[in-house]
Subunit: 384 residues, 4 copies
């Protein structure tokens, strides 16, 4: 399927959420009978949705609620929660700051206060004491130190995340993050990302990752595409990594789940990500729009605070409802951002998928969602 | 024609109305000589247009007018007409309600009053007494009970409609709707939908359906795509189901018509649906824009009233003219929403199709209707 | 190159102006040395541009100017000029009328006054007396009668135009327009259109047409697409008809030029039409934007006045300059609507084409002109 | 890979910046270790970025700064700097002029003052005296005369630029620019452009060009496309020319770098251009947006001043920061227009490319950047 783009240069066509859709077949299943549970690091979760380690999306309280609802939330150990005692006040400041100069403002707030191991421990204990599953995230260069504090505090799952996470790293000045050693030595499961591509995923699984985050510059229009030229639409990225997962499982007998992370905006995208091969999805802004989110109505990315090359800014996400309504409904909006679990169940039922593994094989079509004048008329039909 | 979207995942490309166009050949036929009649359940109709079972589109009076004009209208037996004695007043309330909170408002109105068999009978008798063809629609879980009342009142055609209608349904808690038994036992023809795909269509035909509604999340941008990720553009969906119809006819000698339902906005879409293989089309908002429509100027979908996962909201469709002008002209707008029959006749004549079966084989091209700066200039040419 | 759109339905991909571009090669020719002359009906024209028979584009005076500049203009014998003594006053009324109800207004003005043979003669004599080439256009059902008057007045070229012009026509009530007889008996060359497709074009050439107008619903978004579903993008339509022309020439030794008509907005489109195989182009709104046009600043189509199914309305085209500036420059706009001949010459020179026949074979690429954020930056580069 | 567009007409699909993206693999390299140096005309440059010979982008002072930062700037010898003693004042006038009539205003300013060899010498000496590399550009018909003055003043690199630059040129009235003789006789390396296509590029290399500028009407929406119909998207154009470069190198042992010129808006485009095969890129408006640029906040193209067929106008580019911040950072915007070198380094590191030659072979995918509703949500994810 290689396409010549010019001269001897070839490329494959990659597909994103808006370019595909799912096709019902001859069997429909009662949505209540659908099994959407999944396993990560030996732990079973009722719903395949993870709140992303964004400062605007996850604080300890939200992590607890997320656990109660059957999902998982990841706390950012490089962010405000690990730098400021009164994190909530700082997050509110960011939410309240004017748009003009917001990148500088965020850069300064992150630079002004170093990460404190004591704060790491305190945040994790807040989650554990309330009965939640404590999952945390750190960048490769901060992971070793953060992990010591986190493990001491009783963390359950550890995420290591960078823009492009690979086993192999070359540098003349800094030492490599030892993925395999880290995974082997950590007393808890380690999830690594973000990645795209069969080979990189397979190598991370060989290195001992308990889960893989899939997604590098996934959106159709996203900052990594503009700044770096890098980015793979999520349907293709997920399908590539799923092939690695399935091959790894066949050869090694270990099923390492892959989690599609980035670019997911609604229930339809969740269904498509899983249909492309994902075992679960990670959501950022959709969760940041919960009433319980730390910086009500706002979100910003991990790379916003980059000192010399910020990618992403603070955006307004609004407040769509309680976390429970967003995940389990009822929805009082029709844009697919509420009752995500209900939507996934109904989608799977309509597609005849008994569980997530079957959902990974439902029929998919390429059907671009191009803007159309007929939008309002089509919506009125209701059956569509 | 399978395309690799990533890893081992494959998908076919599917096409919608805005991506195709029809191509004239060397023969032109006088539009007045074109035969656009078709058969449904042993009954002949002069025009291949059905008004959809939306509360904002069809009440008994409109059904009568539709019959007089040679078409057919389907009354929703799960809607306001079957729940409220003074349905028109309730429908007017919905039309008058503010947009803010409209989904809640509709949800409440539908939940507040149960379906009454007596009202079902009364509505059907209103249609029959005025000489109209009485066609009604119910969801699978309400169909049995509604059918009893409807048959008693002398209904002519019975539609069973759900988001995805199939012969096979699995549930641990509720019993399956027995499609084949229902079709066999009903004293009137039963039309079933909505469906997409060769296999599901073929199975419904084997189960005894007298007609099939084609269309699941058909629009380019529609709520099912956003909420569930599910949806098949109508040109491809129609062509797939048409292949099942033709094969079923060849093997069983029974010609079961397929009706493209959803996403049709104008005369051009009607022509394209039939050229893709449809025997007739079902229109919602275009009919809801008739002066005689029950909720003047507004329409909403069957799934708008869903309690936990509404898909679609109330939209303003405006009033474009009398039902007669919309169907038979004259048009005083140039956007293809009026004189639909005149447009279909002229299209078939220009394409050299003597009847609908020949229209199903005219030349089709893939020619995306992308937005273009030249829009106004092109329109001015007039010949285009 | 057939693509399956679903089931057993196949379609070819067709291309429009905005989807292709032309590619320079290793030879550049001085623009002044390029030969852009062409032959129509035994007559040589210096420039391959014809003003379309739209009431808003061509009156006798403009036809004379067009002849003086080396082009050709076609007068509409079914329009205002043939119906009203003081045509200019009526055209000004149309230009001055409010947008609200404009279609009705135009319908009424055309219906109120019948075509008068005396006016036909007078208009043609105005052109001839001033030394212009007199070309006129009529619909098939009015052509016979109009031709008598036109020939008597000394017309030079006769166009017969309908939405879809073919040799074969079936009707139970009206007699067929005898294309072959008409062409044979007319004392002047007869140009016929509009058509698309190899077969229809070849048949018209066999019937004796001296030229063929190519284009049915050509624009990306145009009324025929919306109302009828019919339309072929011009690059593909032109290339199809060019193949018929070349084959006809090879077998019969007669070179019948084809004229791309519809959807052309700027110099780039003219270049592309010829590169796709056209011998000349027909322009409507671009000419209607001339200061000398009959209804300054406005244009409307032949099908706008259709009583029961109007396709197209009156649009504002503005005034871009004198007809001479539009055709020969200098341009004082950079949007490609002025100095069309200069642009064609520069394009042909840059592409190494000595004449129009060579221009029909320059390298073409498929390169969609999608809207892009980078628009303004790209324009600033200037070299692009 | 030829596609039939209609009849016997074929075309290749060509790709632009917004249609492709780059894909990380299993290796990441420290961005600080990446080698982005390159050679042009025997001279080594630290960064592969050239400021284009636009009057709004380059004056002698900016050329010096550009040299200091490791790049190169080209001074336009046909522009204001070579025509007016007090060039800065004239440039400021252009920046200050109202938009209305700006093309005329620019046309007049260029026509009013002839190019003066003395000014050419003075500008070059200003650059040389301050320690900069002096690169200049002239059109083919002015190159001979300009070169005499430039060489006398000690110029380092000479660019000959026209819309379509080829070895072969035909004219009945003016003599051909002798590319091969000019390159052979010039005491400094001669870079020629602009070109697209394997054959034209190969011929220019045979003629002795020391570098090739790639790009004719590159943008998705650009004036050459609209006015002339000519234009090749840059990814395909670059890959075609890169194939010629590699073949020429293999046969002749001389590596002639190719420079992608036009349509580049951000760091992502730079990465993609090199990944398509470029050795360096040329930037116009991005440089014109530097605080040090000659006409602060504005830019216009070489073809804007064309007397009879202007292509491009003056556009507002704004001021994004100092030239140093634009090239080396830090960025305080997230749109990819600042810290271009940092972005290229990070992109190459993330893609596992040690140097530009390796960057030319990283994995590329076709992934259209279509406008999407999800834009803001995706950006918020930050990881994307």
């Amino acid at each position: 399927m290689d396409i010549v783009v010019g001269g001897r240069r070839k490329a494959k066509r990659a597909y994103g959420f808006d370019e595909v859709a799912l096709v019902p077949g001859p069997l429909v299943i009662d949505a209540r009978d659908v099994d959407i549970s999944w396993m990560l690091g030996g732990r079973k979760f009722d719903i395949p949705i993870i709140a992303a380690a964004l400062d605007g999306a996850v604080n300890p309280a939200l992590a607890v609620t997320m656990s109660e609802l059957g999902g998982l939330a990841v706390l950012n150990l490089d962010g405000i929660q690990a730098r400021y005692e009164d994190a909530e006040a700082v997050l509110q400041k960011i939410a309240d700051a004017p748009s003009e100069g917001i990148i500088h403002y965020i850069q300064d707030l992150y630079a002004a206060a170093p990460v404190q191991p004591e704060l790491i421990k305190r945040r994790i204990r807040q989650i554990k004491d309330a009965g939640g599953v404590a999952a945390v995230s750190a960048a490769p260069h901060t992971a070793q130190k953060a992990a010591e504090a986190a493990v001491e505090a009783g963390v359950d799952l550890f995420f290591v995340q960078s823009t492009v996470g690979t086993v192999r790293f070359e540098s003349s000045t800094i030492s490599q993050f030892p993925v395999a050693d880290f995974c082997k030595n950590a007393p808890v499961p380690v999830i690594v990302g973000n990645t795209v591509g069969y080979q990189a995923t397979y190598e991370l699984m060989e290195a001992g990752a308990a889960g893989i985050l899939v997604g590098v510059g996934p959106g159709h229009i996203c900052t990594s595409r503009k700044v770096l030229g890098i980015g793979v639409p999520q349907i293709s990225a997920t399908a590539d990594c799923a092939a690695a997962r399935d091959d790894f499982f066949e050869k090694n007998g270990k099923y390492i789940p892959i989690i599609t992370d980035g670019g997911i905006r609604n229930g339809g995208d969740i269904s498509k990500a899983i249909a492309a091969g994902a075992d679960a999805v990670m959501l950022g802004s959709t969760i940041a729009a919960a009433a319980e989110a730390p910086a009500p109505g706002y979100s910003w990315g991990m790379a916003t605070s980059s000192a010399d090359l910020p990618r992403g800014t603070r955006i307004k996400v609004g407040v769509s409802g309680s976390l429970k309504d967003i995940l389990l409904g009822p929805a009082h909006k029709d844009d697919g951002t509420m009752n995500l679990v209900g939507a996934l169940r109904l989608a799977m039922g309509s597609l005849g998928a008994h569980n997530l593994r079957e959902m990974q094989t439902v029929e998919m079509i390429i059907a671009p969602a191009i803007a159309s004048e007929g939008k309002s008329l089509q919506r009125a039909q209701g059956v569509g």
